[in-house]
Point group: C2
Chain length 646, copies 2
């Protein structure tokens, strides 16, 4: 394990600008072992390397060659945004290169430069770039902003370019992005600006990308352009549909709505703007909408989006299980947005949601072997489920027709260390617990932990500033009911240690070798929902630490899952299973299979309060719950997160 | 009220052929007062007369003129099946004309003949007729059977033509239909038949229509063609998708699946075939699939189709409330199919489902004033619902972009008397209780009832055959727990009167003036669901007689509905309200508003079985439940059928 004392910040997303009004700044983090290291290794060695082959066979790279005039044939793919699969892969590969700078001259670096060259060659002389419009739509640009995704594609190109530049220092892709951004800046603007089009894209995304471009280039024009776009949503330019985030301006909105990913990317951009400009209205909107979302529209897994139809958030407390949409991309967008709010406000709750989403709704999106994906992440697959296949299948798929999620997972995993810790003038804040090193040049802490399987987090100071005390802030997760912390010879727990807004703050004058050991209580727990969440009335979910658990049919031979009742009051036994699903801690408890009396046909019974005779006690059954993120990695079958208790 | 002794059968759907193997034959029925008479009067005087104007403004009639070359302009409408709106309206108008033969020379008759002429003029010389393909698709016929709806449109044309011919005796529309059917018969057939295309339509419908055309013309070719189509589904001709009913042949299927209306129309056609040909395999498939559907995929209202996405049935026991799709057309198709099974088998259960669907899932589809419609029929509208408008709005709409439902409602209401009673060699079976006359020439019974508000059904024999005893069979509804029947001086109840498979059979040698008075117990009741229906765990629904009840926000000032708990064990008071919603019986009972503690943000709580402190008792509230069919006729607001009990 590397034990050097200096910890240079690796390039990553959200590098705040010099005037940013953020409470916290991203800290440098190096992950070198443990849970997320394993998943990132699979991302680095399996998922990312397979990208170019998949982009080739799906036709994305072919389309770039067509646009460059270096290949012949027909456009491939069904959507106007297929270029973004390439861009998101490039962003993932760039963050990966930044992790392992030795690879800069290796195979991955070669692949990146090859594909960057394809992108550059496809760009039109004035900076425009979108293979769908260049090849299929005869160059009729910006005439279908509601569906065209041209600025959305530009956004992902810009993000890839910023990543590529930060990771490698090479200018090629950034040049393409700047040229496209300048082109967009010359075309879009408010009435009276001299720009021909007053418009926005049906799919927000360019906004947050333009803020990153401002951060990378220092060009304030890009920040202004992002601000213009953010504020033009909600005024009917796209017909006023919630789907396109055009029903109501963010500054007036009271809850998240419409297409979940669109809403979340827009909010990430708005929060970026609030951070860089100090815009109090946008900050307030972000804080208000985040609270409304988490209180009324978030699944237990952190998943977002209740409707398959229009990929919509749905109504407050409408949180179905089997039809939870919970697109993997929405989980990613949620993490991106929450992290920006964490930086802006300094509040721990945002990282509570990041943790929950990372370990559950996000991580379920990729198989343990890194080769298969889920686009939607339901909380239940019913007994007798007929899977219709396609992108929205409840079975893992090698690649999608709309392949937005896989490279999005890749880019988040490759850049994950940038979502874990922060610094401010008082010290270091650890938001997520992974084995590795945290800090900045002056104050560096090594963390050793087997989290989330064990609750012990051992922190050792490796370097400390000599100029006075610093505060080491540890996030006490929202789910955590008891903890102990040892600092030197003193041990504290919740009774004598204040946790303020989620932060346990330890101020000290630190020396190398100083240790803090945090022990988070990981007793498994049964969780219930607000009674307005109709979908889970009379049910509990099993959780342990940050992990949501589920039952899978394969662990419960002799039947399905939909007749199983969990017997509350029975022990929840913790059983680590190194052999299972790459090594997981299971929760074993007791339940029974309800005996359901045979009905002639009609499944409804009038009882006037008398217990339905069809509901009788049944055979006991041992229940084995596995972490939700690991579901659907064995044989197909039913699955449940929420379990009836009677 | 008319009191003539003869009861000529009015023309209607499902006129069995001479060789039909049905257990029962449709009887003649005349509805002349009461609940359904009122609704049919609105249909006759408001809905149907408004049809031509709406078809004109939506462009359907314009398209026919375009195809005939008698108008200029662009095709109007977004779907390849817009012609069917015209055909279904024509069918509705035809059954309406049959009800009121005096109108044959009136305004409605004139409108019908005008529109029949438009249809005839649009037909191509070889019999083909589809304005979308003629005008938009440059006549590229039958090249997109999966989405083209050409045979689906033909089916509705044929049904309209059969109705027009039966109702008026006029040949004009039947000639058009025969010509198109002959054209289809010349194009479609199995390999080796000499027909160029071995294919089926993505949307079944022509099958049941072709059986009706056989019944009307006596041409067995049409029956054979229907049989060919029915048996070609499920063999991958359309790519094997469940959506198109192409995943598995009906003869092998174990549950209904895919697009609900497509499945139900196909099953109606298959049951027609089983009836006319004696095909035991199709009969068995119909009986099997009907039982699976009612046991696992039917909402309490009789509504069918759990998914908005693909209008799909969903999985067994997947019966959501707020996202119940329950298309009005699916309710209609279900009634049509169940009625065919009732005729084929003689079993009362099919009419149990017809009754439930008629009074709830179907009737909710049209407003009380006959002018506004619901395409989807959810069982809940949440507090804070954001309605996105469009065809699938939870608010009633004047007309739809895809206007399949309104004229479908019109045709069912106009032909409703054909779904109410049957005869066989032993006598008369009354399936539904409406005020009017039932029977055939030899055995006629008058029924007087205020059903569903009151349970008394008074039957008086008006004519009886002199040649011996006849059996008067009365369906005892599946929901009915107690009844009394007076026949002459004798009174019986469930304790001494056998009800066999839903039928109370009274054999007697009848004379005019003989009376039977059936009193169905209409005590309101609380209903629970099979525990596998996760969506309604811990909830009850209020029902009375055939009616499902719901709460509407407008009757519960001071808040929404989603915090309301019904207190079981409290009286369910019956209160008739002639002033409300056209006159409805309400159910008044007691509940309370749950006090929900303010949560900071996260709506899930780990309690380990301890009662969530956020759930506390709250203020008592009087609950006023109204019949589900009458919902959404006042101000917009939330609505619930299923009510939590704790």
């Amino acid at each position: 394990m590397p034990r050097t004392r200096s910890l240079p910040p690796a390039p990553g997303p959200v590098r705040l600008g010099p005037d940013a009004r953020a409470a916290l700044r991203p800290a440098a983090v190096g992950i070198d072992s443990g849970f997320w290291h394993t998943r990132r290794a699979t991302n680095a060695h399996v998922s990312i390397p397979q990208g170019p082959g998949l982009l080739e066979s799906a036709g994305n790279l072919h389309n770039l060659r067509l646009a460059a005039g270096t290949a012949e044939g027909a456009f491939q793919g069904a959507y106007p945004f297929v270029d973004t699969d390439v861009y998101k892969w490039l962003e993932a590969a760039a963050w990966q290169l930044a992790q392992t700078p030795g690879d800069l001259t290796g195979e991955l670096a070669d692949e990146v430069e090859r594909i960057v060259a394809l992108v550059a060659a496809a760009q039109q002389p004035d900076g425009y770039l979108n293979t769908w419009f260049q090849l299929v739509k005869d160059g009729r640009r910006y005439q279908d902003l509601r569906w065209g995704h041209e600025l959305y594609c530009a956004g992902h190109l810009i993000q890839a370019a910023v990543a590529h530049h930060r990771a490698t220092g090479r200018p090629e892709l950034l040049d393409v992005a700047v040229k496209f951004a300048d082109h967009i800046d010359s075309v879009f603007g408010p009435p009276g600006s001299g720009r021909p089009i007053d418009g926005i894209d049906g799919h927000p995304e360019v906004e947050t990308a333009l803020v990153e471009l401002y951060r990378e280039t220092g060009e304030r024009r890009y920040l202004d352009l992002a601000g213009y776009f953010v504020d033009r949503y909600g005024h009917g330019l796209l017909g006023g549909e919630a789907y396109c985030q055009d029903r109501v301006p963010l500054r007036e909105a009271t809850n998240v709505e419409g297409h979940a990913v669109r809403q979340l990317y827009l909010l990430a951009g708005a929060t970026d703007l609030a951070t860089e400009t100090g815009d109090a209205g946008l900050r307030a909107a972000g804080e208000r909408l985040w609270r409304a979302m988490t209180a009324t529209k978030t699944h237990l897994t952190g998943g977002l989006g209740a409707h398959h139809d229009e990929e919509d958030f749905g109504d407050p407390y409408e949180l179905p299980n089997e039809r939870a949409y919970c697109e993997t991309c929405a989980a990613i967008a949620s993490i991106q947005w929450s992290w920006r709010l964490a930086l802006l406000t300094g509040e721990a709750r945002y990282s509570d949601l990041v943790e929950r989403t990372l370990y559950n709704g996000f991580l379920a999106g990729v198989s343990l072997d890194g080769e298969r994906w889920l686009y939607v992440n339901p909380l239940q697959v019913r007994d007798g489920h007929t899977d219709t296949g396609g992108d929205q299948s409840a079975r893992r798929t090698r690649w999608f027709r709309c392949a937005c999620c896989p490279p999005n997972v890749m880019r988040l995993l490759a850049g994950l260390e940038h979502y874990l810790a922060t610094t401010d003038d008082t010290g270091l804040q650890i938001h997520q617990y992974v084995t590795g090193r945290y800090g900045d040049d002056g104050f560096t802490v090594r963390c050793e932990t087997d989290y989330p399987w064990h609750g012990t987090i051992a922190l050792t100071v490796e370097a400390a500033p000599a100029d006075g005390p610093r505060t080491l802030s540890l996030r006490i997760p929202q789910w955590c009911r008891d903890f102990r912390v040892r600092h030197g010879s003193r041990t504290h727990d919740r009774t004598d240690t204040p946790v303020t807004d989620g932060w346990l703050r330890i101020e000290d004058t630190w020396s190398p070798g100083d240790r803090v050991v945090l022990e988070l209580g990981l007793e498994p727990r049964l969780t219930t929902a607000d009674p307005r969440v109709d979908a889970v009335r009379g049910c509990v979910a099993i959780e342990r630490g940050p992990l949501v658990y589920c039952l899978e049919q394969v662990d419960h031979p002799g039947g399905g899952l939909d007749d199983i009742v969990l017997d509350t009051g029975r022990p929840l036994a913790v059983k680590h299973r190194p052999d299972l699903l790459g090594g997981v801690t299971t929760i074993v408890t007791a339940g029974h299979r309800r005996r359901i009396a045979d009905r002639d046909w009609w499944p409804y019974t009038s009882t006037d309060g008398v217990e339905d005779p069809a509901r009788t006690e049944g055979d006991p059954v041992e229940l084995t719950a596995v972490p939700y993120y690991a579901w659907a990695n064995r044989e197909d079958g039913s699955m449940r997160v929420w379990l009836p208790t009677g």
